[in-house]
């Protein structure tokens, strides 16, 4: 699975509580991404990082923040979880886009339920 570990794999939390999801890589890739997958919406980019302490917003960044204090870890935080953030969250890593190889490798996901 390309050296990506997401934790936790499953989480149930209550509305209004903070939640942090972790992505850990052993590939030393520069780029890391957080996507969410929802029925009818496919995979949507939340935030991404292009280096330590360098992050930027994706398509659906409202309500989320990220941090990357070292190359191998990329954290996604829901400051105050809402039911609309119930989803499956995928972390992805990769080198620069392009070339014959896949630019992104995905983790196995975190299923988050906000009640």
């Amino acid at each position: 699975d390309a050296g990506i570990t997401q934790s936790p794999r499953h989480k149930v939390t209550e509305t209004g509580t903070p939640v942090t999801l972790r992505c850990h890589q052993t590939e030393n890739h520069r780029y890391m991404y957080w996507y969410r997958q929802d029925p009818g919406h496919g995979l949507r980019l939340i935030h991404y990082s292009y280096g330590v302490k360098d992050t930027d917003k994706g398509e659906v960044s409202d309500g989320y923040s990220v941090s990357r204090s070292k190359t191998e870890d990329f954290l996604l935080t829901l400051e105050s979880a809402t039911s609309s953030q119930t989803s499956v969250y995928f972390c992805a890593i990769g080198p620069r886009v392009g070339g014959n190889n896949s630019p992104l490798h995905f983790g196995n996901g975190t299923r988050l339920t906000v009640t």
């Binding site: 780029y31 994706g58 896949s102 490798h105 996901g109």
Partner: protein, 114 residues
Amino acid sequence: DQQVKQNSPSLSVQEGRISILNCDYTNSMFDYFLWYKKYPAEGPTFLISISSIKDKNEDGRFTVFLNKSAKHLSLHIVPSQPGDSAVYFCAAGTYGGATNKLIFGTGTLLAVQP
């Protein structure tokens, strides 16, 4: 505004026949396109890619066709096998672009019937 669209939520084919999955995009800046396959409870895995300098790329049973003028790409699977049953996502990006990110479509669920 969906920049990458997969208009067929599902597709069912018989084992041994051809599966054709379609994808449309709106952003003319995209010049790198990929297909990912996803099984339940797993992350998406890379299948095949194509850059805009080509109109076809083959890898075994999988072929991707790109029609730049129509902003359309398709994935052909021949022959289809039951193990191909999965959700297929197309994705688009910009080669060497500053943002280095991929935009995904909504996915097509392929069911290959034995």
